[in-house]
């Protein structure tokens, strides 16, 4: 049978939720951002919980094979703790909770100590969950192994009467392929670009600086396609990734057919503070090189609010930044790419739908919503009549 993989981007405002559905049926979810107000049908954001539950129901599942939290910012974890079943406490287990067969988190998520005022309830729960799974030694992979985490882990292992190295197999270093998936058996492999261990050992842990970044390589009927999945990252991290990957001669891991750009189209992923530019943000040299790694017919997706090309957009402080969009579009055109898509714009900003890419024998294609004209009206609620 022909391989058909899917990558789905959900419209969750300035937030991230993407899902990979493999040809063989396995599902990998990156981040989870359910806005409470999304349950109200008047808001454009998707009701993520209902949507994902419906999708799982149609394939008769109550679990994801993998849920990866790229980092612990609210816009990447919101609503996750009452959607997923948490193994560390009974009260987070019950009817309807979605199971996570394997949790992927950056090491930073197990370590960070936020002061009481800034401590997010959900982050703490996920930290507890990750710690629990790590101690239990199953259903988790932790990306990078900073010393601080080893210092936390080893005494606890000793208490349990286990060797200091007993959990080593659950730690994944940047520059390696994540175990559990292979091109041969699943038609996919995950190459870990980030986090680098140094990020956490420099002292202050800044979440973005330690977020997960993958080259996801798909195999479909004999050909390879690359998806660059970035949670949040700054231009410095992007340059670090390019530099390190080059150094290790893994240049092919920088190419992309599909690019989930960092941080809701923030210009800070292209250049430093204050260098937003009037019309476009000039990318730093290595960031520019990464943009030129786009393949012919590639797509870029911005997980963000709409980015209209209007005067007001040019004065926005918070992402998304139209200057960044213009830059991405310029380079996309230069490499012969297709479209720059924004999750909250498709097919329209009033009622966006998930953006679905299909990765099959012919390559990556965007499966556009068939909802145009009358069918779109039929499938949505029109404004109240008087």
């Amino acid at each position: 049978m022909a391989d058909v993989h899917k990558v789905v981007f959900y419209p969750v405002g300035n937030g991230d939720t993407t899902q990979i559905v493999l040809s063989g049926g396995r599902r990998v979810l990156f981040d989870f951002c359910h806005r409470d107000r999304a349950e109200d049908t008047d808001t454009p954001e998707i009701d993520l919980k209902s949507r994902l539950k419906d999708e799982l129901k149609t394939v008769d599942r109550d679990y994801f094979d993998v849920v990866a939290f790229t980092h612990a910012d609210l816009d990447h974890i919101q609503g996750s703790t009452d959607f997923f079943e948490l193994q560390h406490a009974k009260k987070y287990q019950g009817e309807g909770q979605i199971k996570i067969r394997e949790l992927w988190v950056p090491a930073a998520m197990l370590l960070e100590e936020a002061d009481k005022d800034h401590q997010q309830e959900e982050f703490v729960l996920l930290r507890q969950e990750a710690r629990h799974r790590l101690l239990e030694g199953k259903d988790i992979l932790v990306f990078s192994k900073p010393k601080a985490l080893a210092d936390w882990l080893e005494p606890r292992l000793k208490e349990r009467g286990e060797a200091a190295s007993a959990r080593d197999h659950l730690f994944i270093d940047a520059g390696t392929i994540v175990p559990g998936f292979s091109l041969a058996s699943d038609g996919v492999e995950f190459f870990c670009h980030s986090p680098f261990i140094k990020h956490c050992d420099e002292g202050d842990i800044i979440r973005n600086r330690a977020s997960l970044v993958f080259n996801v390589r798909f195999l479909a009927d004999g050909a390879y396609y690359d998806y660059l999945e970035v949670g949040d990252a700054t231009w410095e991290e992007m340059e670090d990734i390019v530099r390190t990957t080059r150094h290790h001669k893994n240049d092919d891991r920088l190419a992309w057919d599909l690019y989930n750009i960092p941080h809701h189209c923030s210009y800070l992923a292209l250049n430093e503070e204050g260098q937003k530019g009037d019309k476009e943000t000039e990318p730093k040299p290595l960031v520019k090189e990464l943009l030129l790694q786009g393949k012919r017919d590639a797509y870029i997706v911005s997980c963000s609010k709409p980015i209209p090309d209007i005067k007001e957009s040019y004065e926005q402080v918070q992402p998304p930044h139209i200057q960044a969009r213009n830059t991405y579009e310029r380079y996309l055109k230069e490499v012969g790419g297709r479209k720059f898509l924004v999750t909250m714009e498709e097919p329209n900003a009033n009622k966006p739908e998930p953006i679905v890419f299909e990765i099959a024998s012919g390559g990556v294609t965007w499966k556009r919503s068939a909802s145009i004209g009358a069918p779109a009206i039929i499938t949505s609620t029109p404004p109240r009549a008087g």
């Binding site: 012919r296 024998s361 012919g362 390559g363 294609t365 145009i372």
Partner: protein, 748 residues
């Protein structure tokens, strides 16, 4: 390297969209501006001077569902010319401008070297215009490109050429061309049969014996090409030279065989031009295979008409020369002529006559159907065979001894030319006229009831199913007593044509037509619909229902309507194992149909002197019910049924309940008369006189057997004496606790 694009000729650029004059072009311009996937490149108009007859938007369109690496070679971004004619009845033509745009199936006929024109619609222009909007049109273009890129525009085996390409010229191939071509004793000729007022024509490729004298036919050559892989088709060449080039690329010589063909049949004396010589046909046989390594699994045919006389063409390609209006072979000319290269050629539609498989596919018939015998080639029989024959269902022999009379033509498939011919032969001939031997119906001119006849016996012996459409009682009853015959179905239409009946034996022949007939009568007597079912019979239904009766009034439409129902229902009944009694009762006022199923039950045979008595479980069950309802008293009544001395049988149809003035006690029963005569008369009327009085039945009280008492024997004597006046025996039936006794009394 930038893409190279076709330049349109005889156009001039329109600098400002406000200069557009054609309303559709203006609307389309607006839609292009609004549609994110389209961007305008340029506006052109034609002609260069004067009012535009055509305005053209050159656009780039992006199609996200086009796979980047599609094997077809369609790009994500394509440049198109949308050519809007000022005639609002004509469709907008869409030209793909990229010079290396692939050649696809759904393109209009075009000249090589000019932009491809996309076939966006499957319907005629009028149908498209009914709902056309610029927005939908733009989406349709994207749909076309995306589906084409994915190879999904059409089911692979649908003959696309025929859909999209409307040639006035048709060449019809025989259904068994592949087989015929293997026969070394045959050659092929093209016979032009039907010329139409528009100049179009249909001609036929026909096999004749090589030894047969050559008659003047349209010249043709046939060329076998090496196999190609199914998929893309090449654009049609428009000149003989282009065709020769296409063939040369496949290492097939066109001009040599063509010259030979044009010289054939011309002797030393030469020949003169003839008005019948309208053209020369080139027929290509192209084996198709699914992949490069696969064996060919089919043969495609393409044909081209060279629309000048064979003699003229002979001159053009140096095969002939002309001298004083006579044409001679040019055997000396070594200098190859080139005039032929510019000769225009026209593509022809190549059609193939139906074989069984094609007939079945077109009819939605999935089962081949049984080897069958149809008894009776009358009105209903001929209609059934017409329906089954054209759909390829079943392999049929048809038995009938009658011939066509003038009055038959009002309700039969036959034509006036068939008057006097046997019906079986006519039906077989009509089938042959439709199928040309692709399937055959074998006629047997004989009396179906005469199983001793060799051809009847042979036909039935080779069949898995026999359908009785004889409209007689003789055949189904006779067939019921022969154990070696195949499964039988009986079908008939009632005298007024408003009902049809199917009696179907079970596959093991445990329930034969004889008992199904009796059970059908019981339903007529006892069910409400039976009251009018046989209305219109002229005293005796069976012969009256037949078309042998010249006075029968019934429109053919009713026969055909019922035949259509029966044709499908028989197909369904064959597929099941059990017996079936089904009646379709039509309301002629509104055309509605009610369906009645009568559950079929087994019968048993009881030897009764020289006769066999048949009674089915349904009769017995009803009598037992009446007996129990009367406990503790006895009960009884009249037995209904019929005699058939041809098969030495008496068949019980039903027992009537006790008349109201009967006298019953726990050890006796005296049948009354109230309403009885009317009841018997009604039964006779409902069954067209088939069913009548055959005797009496009564029950014995609880715990008692059916052994006749002394009183019973006295009664039997009385009945026998009475029936003797009709020359018939009397039947007495007794129902006991477990058993059932049947006695016959006859005056010797």
């Amino acid at each position: 390297m930038p893409d190279a694009y076709h330049e349109l000729a005889n156009v001039v650029e329109v600098k400002d969209a406000s200069e557009l004059t054609i309303p559709r072009a203006k609307a389309l311009f607006g839609a292009v501006q609004r549609q994110r996937d389209y961007s305008l490149v340029q506006i052109l108009r034609h002609p260069v001077d004067g009012d535009p007859t055509l305005e053209c938007l050159v656009v780039e369109v992006e199609c996200d569902d086009v796979p980047p690496k599609n094997p077809v070679g369609i790009r994500y971004r394509e440049r198109l010319a949308l050519c809007v004619p000022n005639d609002p009845k004509r469709l907008i033509e869409v030209l793909a401008l990229r010079q290396d745009f692939p050649i696809l199936m759904h393109q209009n006929q075009g000249v090589p070297g000019t932009p491809a024109s996309l076939c966006l619609y499957f319907e005629a222009a009028g149908a498209v215009m009914r709902t056309w909007t610029p927005e939908a049109f733009l989406r349709r273009i994207q749909w076309w490109l995306e589906k084409s890129a994915r190879g999904e525009l059409h089911a692979a085996d649908q003959p696309v050429e025929h859909l999209f390409f409307a040639s006035k010229y048709e060449l019809v191939l025989p259904w068994n061309l592949t087989e015929l071509r293997k026969d070394p004793a045959l050659r092929f000729a093209i016979v032009l049969r039907h010329e139409r007022p528009d100049g179009g024509f249909t001609c036929f490729l026909e096999p004749t014996a090589k030894t047969a004298p050559r008659v003047k036919t349209t010249k043709h050559i046939e060329l076998a090409l090496p196999p190609i892989v199914h998929g893309l088709v090449e654009r049609d060449p428009v000149t003989l030279g282009q065709l020769a080039d296409v063939l040369a690329r496949r290492e097939v010589d066109l001009i040599g065989p063509l010259r030979e063909a044009l010289q054939a049949d011309i002797d030393e004396a030469g020949t003169t031009a003839s008005a019948d010589d309208k053209g020369t046909i080139i027929l290509l046989h192209i084996p198709i295979r699914r992949s490069v390594d696969a064996e060919p699994d089919g043969v495609a045919h393409r044909a081209f008409l060279v629309p000048i006389g064979g003699l003229e063409l002979g001159i053009a390609c140096g095969a002939l020369f002309v001298h004083e209006k006579r044409y001679y072979k040019d055997l000396l000319n070594q200098q190859p002529a080139t005039a032929w290269r510019e000769q225009p050629i026209l593509p022809m539609a190549v059609l193939t006559q139906n074989d069984r498989t094609a007939a079945m596919r077109q009819s939605g018939v999935t089962e081949e159907g049984p080897a069958g015998v149809l008894v009776g080639a009358g009105s209903l029989g001929s209609a059934l065979l017409n329906l089954w024959g054209r759909s390829g269902w079943g392999r049929w022999m048809v038995i009938d001894k009658d011939h066509i009379k003038p009055h038959n033509l009002s309700r039969h498939g036959a034509y006036a030319q068939h008057i006097g011919e046997t019906k079986a032969t006519v039906v077989a001939g009509l089938h042959a006229a439709a199928m040309e031997g692709a399937t055959e119906i074998v006629p047997v001119v004989a009396d179906g009831c005469d199983f001793a006849q060799a051809d009847v016996a042979q036909a039935l012996a080779g069949a898995a199913l026999a359908i009785d459409a004889s409209t007689t009682l003789e055949y189904p009853r006779a067939a019921s007593v022969v154990d070696t015959l195949p499964r039988h179905f009986s079908v008939f239409v009632t005298p007024n044509g408003n009902a049809a009946v199917l009696l179907a034996e079970d596959a093991k022949r445990m329930q034969r037509l004889r008992t199904l007939e009796a059970q059908y009568y019981r339903a007529l007597i006892q069910q409400d619909w039976g009251r009018v079912h046989l209305d219109g019979h002229a005293s005796t239904f069976w012969s009256g229902a037949s078309c042998r009766d010249i006075s029968l009034v019934m429109p053919y439409s009713r026969i055909l309507g019922q035949a259509s129902t029966l044709a499908e229902q028989i197909q369904a009944a064959v597929a099941r194992e059990d017996a079936l009694i089904r009646i379709w009762q039509r309301d002629p006022a509104r055309g509605g149909v009610e369906v009645h199923d009568v559950p079929a039950v087994p019968e048993r045979r009881i030897a009764l002197g020289e006769l066999d008595l048949y009674i089915d479980d349904g009769v017995e069950q009803q009598l037992r019910t009446l007996r129990q309802q009367s406990f503790p008293n006895e009960t009884g009544g009249v037995l209904l049924g019929y005699y058939d001395f041809n098969i030495r049988a008496v068949v019980i149809v039903a027992g009537l309940p006790a008349p109201s003035d009967s006298k019953a006690s726990p050890d006796s029963f005296e049948r009354g008369v109230a309403g009885l005569a009317e009841a018997v008369k009604d039964a006779a009327k409902r069954t067209a006189g088939m069913v009548g009085y055959v005797g009496e039945w009564h029950s014995h009280p609880p715990g008692h057997s059916a052994s006749p008492s002394r009183h019973d024997l006295v009664q039997l004597v009385h009945l026998a004496l009475g029936m003797a006046d009709d020359g018939l025996p009397a039947v007495q039936l007794i129902v006991g606790e477990q058993d059932l006794q049947i006695l016959q009394g006859a005056v010797q």
